[in-house]
């Protein structure tokens, strides 16, 4: 009925007195690559985290694949049952700024734990597929290493493999290179670029303007909890309409 994978409709989020999101609306179509840019504290990570319920919303609605995760009825936000939410957010997968690999598991186990324990896939098959995914991110040689033995870029690539292992219909990247040294962001961006080329739907919160411009079909600029401007990269970066976006681009480019 809809080919939107993610629909956030007029989402509001407050932290005490601070309004982190004000009526933010974001729709992502199947196969689309959306980049969210904006300064720190503009609400872009918060918006991303509303998609998979890492943040609960205070107004508006959230849909995944057309199914309502949360909606506002009569001024009150109603969430679906916890088990339903869990099933819905497994259709999304997130790659975190700080990787969040499971430190007590090897790389291979990090990738297989959700397919085996949560999705009850056949362990041998899950391991085969995990090896394929590690090969995809260029780390099949590190299958039996623990996260503590890896560099930051390697950790993030394992985290990407782990996210892919649950066969999500969309990938959410939350500043995937912000915790990395500049000289190793390239290896992570290369993997993301590859996934984009393979047609994975993705939402990417990033400070890498060049990369956003290159990979995204659509760029969303946020400021002060709201979406100020969105459009194709050429327009956003080439012909910014709002003053705020112009100032932001001047500051970061």
């Amino acid at each position: 009925m809809t080919d939107h994978i993610v629909e956030l409709d007029r989402v509001c989020k407050r932290y005490g007195e601070v309004e982190a999101l004000r009526d933010a609306t974001l729709r992502v179509r199947r196969g689309e690559h959306v980049a969210i840019i904006g300064s720190s504290g503009s609400g872009k990570s918060t918006l991303l985290r509303c998609i998979n319920h890492l943040e609960s919303i205070d107004g508006g609605s959230v849909r995944n694949n057309g199914v309502i995760l949360a909606e506002t009825v009569g001024g009150r936000v109603r969430y679906r049952r916890e088990a339903d939410i869990r099933r819905l957010i497994m259709q999304t997968a997130m790659v975190f700024q700080h990787f969040n690999l499971f430190g007590h598991l090897t790389c291979l186990e990090n990738v297989t734990i959700a397919p085996i324990r949560i999705k009850r896939e056949n362990p041998a098959e899950a391991r085969d597929r995990a090896m394929d995914l590690l090969r995809l991110v260029g780390l099949s040689g590190k299958a039996n290493a623990y996260p503590a033995e890896l560099s930051g870029g390697q950790k993030q690539r394992v985290a990407i493999a782990r996210a892919l292992a649950i066969r999500p219909s969309i990938l959410l990247f939350d500043e995937p290179t912000s915790a990395l040294d500049p000289e190793i962001t390239g290896e992570v961006l290369k993997v993301i670029r590859q996934l984009a080329a393979q047609g994975y739907s993705m939402v990417l919160v990033t400070h890498e303007m060049g990369f956003a411009r290159e990979v995204a079909d659509r760029v969303v600029f946020m400021d002060n909890g709201g979406i100020v401007e969105e459009g194709i990269p050429a327009n956003i970066f080439g012909h910014p309409e709002s003053e705020r976006l112009r100032l932001f681009l001047q500051a970061v480019l």
């Binding site: 998979n52 319920h53 890492l54 869990r86 099933r87 957010i89 497994m90 999304t92 997968a93 997130m94 975190f96 700080h98 990787f99 969040n100 690999l101 499971f102 430190g103 007590h104 598991l105 734990i113 959700a114 324990r117 949560i118 999705k119 623990y146 996260p147 503590a148 033995e149 890896l150 560099s151 985290a159 782990r162 996210a163 649950i166």
Partner: protein
């Protein structure tokens, strides 16, 4: 002091028996309190207030009063109450009273160690597990608790070494553990040797424990090797 072979030989049976009781108290307490600490720890960080209150009050009571008082309560106090209220099952023999008291007391200490260990794990671990479809319970048992093991081994080790020495408190309600055996022998013979032998016994136990914990720390430290 008299460390002649003949005298040690005379003391040996009673001290060995006492040491056996000491070890038994030690082991039974560990077997009961190490697992019991976990539900108490989980309860004390529960989002539901009844288990949280219950577990926190439990920990407060057992850490906040002397172990000796607790021993008196579970042995004499319950015995008196058993008579007053006609509840004979409350009356515990010396040895079970010691085990019950120690297990409950140490579970409170272990619970606090577990709780601190669990709360030291980064929030990102919960978030990653959640996005992968883990329930809260699955996250706790598959992701969080395994990562606390390495961190809680040193404080747990500390606590068990304290337990070795706390077993001597059982003497106050007349359990014939190592210290009581030594004191009886010393009083009988007006000789300090039994105390030295008892000290050697406690030291031997704690020495073995230290070795065991070094092994455990290595075993669970595997995944914390740093990148070269």
């Amino acid at each position: 002091m008299n460390l002649s072979r003949e005298y040690v030989f005379v003391l040996w049976p009673a001290l060995a028996q006492g040491a056996g009781q000491t070890l038994l108290i030690f082991l039974l307490t560990l077997i009961l309190s190490l697992p019991l600490g976990l539900p108490v720890a989980l309860g004390s960080i529960s989002r539901l207030w009844p288990p949280r209150m219950f577990c926190r009050v439990y920990v407060w009571l057992f850490r906040g009063t002397p172990l000796m008082l607790q021993l008196f309560f579970f042995y004499y106090g319950l015995g008196i109450m058993a008579g007053q209220y006609d509840l004979p099952f409350l009356r515990l023999d010396r040895f079970p009273a010691v085990i019950v008291t120690f297990a409950l007391n140490y579970a409170a200490y272990f619970a606090e160690i577990y709780r601190a260990g669990i709360q030291s794990i980064d929030r990102g671990q919960y978030e990653a597990a959640k996005t992968l479809g883990f329930t809260r319970t699955q996250t706790m048992f598959a992701i969080i608790i395994p990562q606390t093991l390495r961190r809680i081994i040193p404080p747990v080790c500390n606590e068990t070494i304290t337990l070795v020495k706390d077993t001597a408190l059982a003497t106050v309600i007349g359990v014939a553990e190592l210290l009581k055996a030594a004191r009886d022998a010393s009083n009988r013979d007006t000789n300090t040797t039994p105390y030295f032998l008892a000290a050697a016994g406690y030291l031997a136990i704690t020495f073995v424990l230290t070795l065991v914990y070094q092994k455990l720390e290595k075993r669970f430290g595997r995944h914390e090797r740093e990148a070269i």
